[in-house]
């Protein structure tokens, strides 16, 4: 079980890094590497998307390898994260559309919020069952 867990973790880490790297290439490549070449940009986006799908599959495999308590911890954390992401995300969007904040609502802020929220809830829930 431990060996299988380690393999699944390494796979997820590898695909996550690969996804981040291809995202960076797709973001900065058109401007700094291939001078807005449409075919290369489309290819970069497709490669990034494929890496993202493989990262999701690796995450699902890791999740399926969890035992029942770990699954409960992560499921509770996911439920809280999803709820908060929807509520906070829409409030953030409202702040933008009603001009209560001067800057535009950026999706990257929401993704950062989701990541931090999930991490906090996994830590809290893991402590609850310690």
């Amino acid at each position: 079980m431990r060996k299988e867990r380690r393999i699944n973790l390494y796979r997820l880490a590898a695909w996550t890094w690969s996804w981040v790297a291809t995202l960076a290439i797709a973001t900065f490549g058109p401007k700094y590497i291939w001078d807005d070449h449409t075919v290369l940009t489309t290819l970069a986006v497709l490669v990034n998307f494929s890496n993202g799908v493989l990262m999701i599959i690796a995450n699902r495999n890791l999740f399926n390898n969890f035992d029942e308590l770990e699954r409960k911890i992560h499921l509770e954390s996911l439920a809280m994260t999803l709820g908060l992401a929807v509520v906070a995300g829409l409030s953030y969007s409202l702040l933008d559309t009603t001009n209560l904040i001067s800057s535009d609502a950026e999706i990257s802020n929401l993704i950062l919020f989701i990541g931090v929220t999930y991490l906090i809830f996994v830590t809290i829930n893991a402590r609850r069952y310690k």
């Binding site: 079980m1 035992d67 029942e68 308590l69 893991a126 609850r128 069952y129 310690k130």
Partner: protein, 66 residues
């Protein structure tokens, strides 16, 4: 739900890690079950009862609140 896992484990000189490895869960899960913070699923309860050669009712029970 209460259980006698800690006692049964001690009688057989199993560590939490040993028991976790045998029944296929993490040590944290065994610890949470022993501390009665987490109720195991039916398949896990069956695996534990099979290991200790006892019925599920002999290991897990409800405390009478009346």
């Amino acid at each position: 739900m209460k259980n006698r896992i800690k006692v049964l484990r001690a009688e057989r000189n199993y560590t939490q890690e040993d028991l976790a490895d045998i029944v296929g869960v993490s040590r944290q899960t065994i610890n949470a079950i022993e501390k009665e913070k987490f109720d195991p699923s039916l398949p896990l309860a069956f695996r534990i009862s099979k290991l200790f050669k006892l019925s599920i009712e002999d290991i897990f029970y409800f405390e009478d609140v009346s």
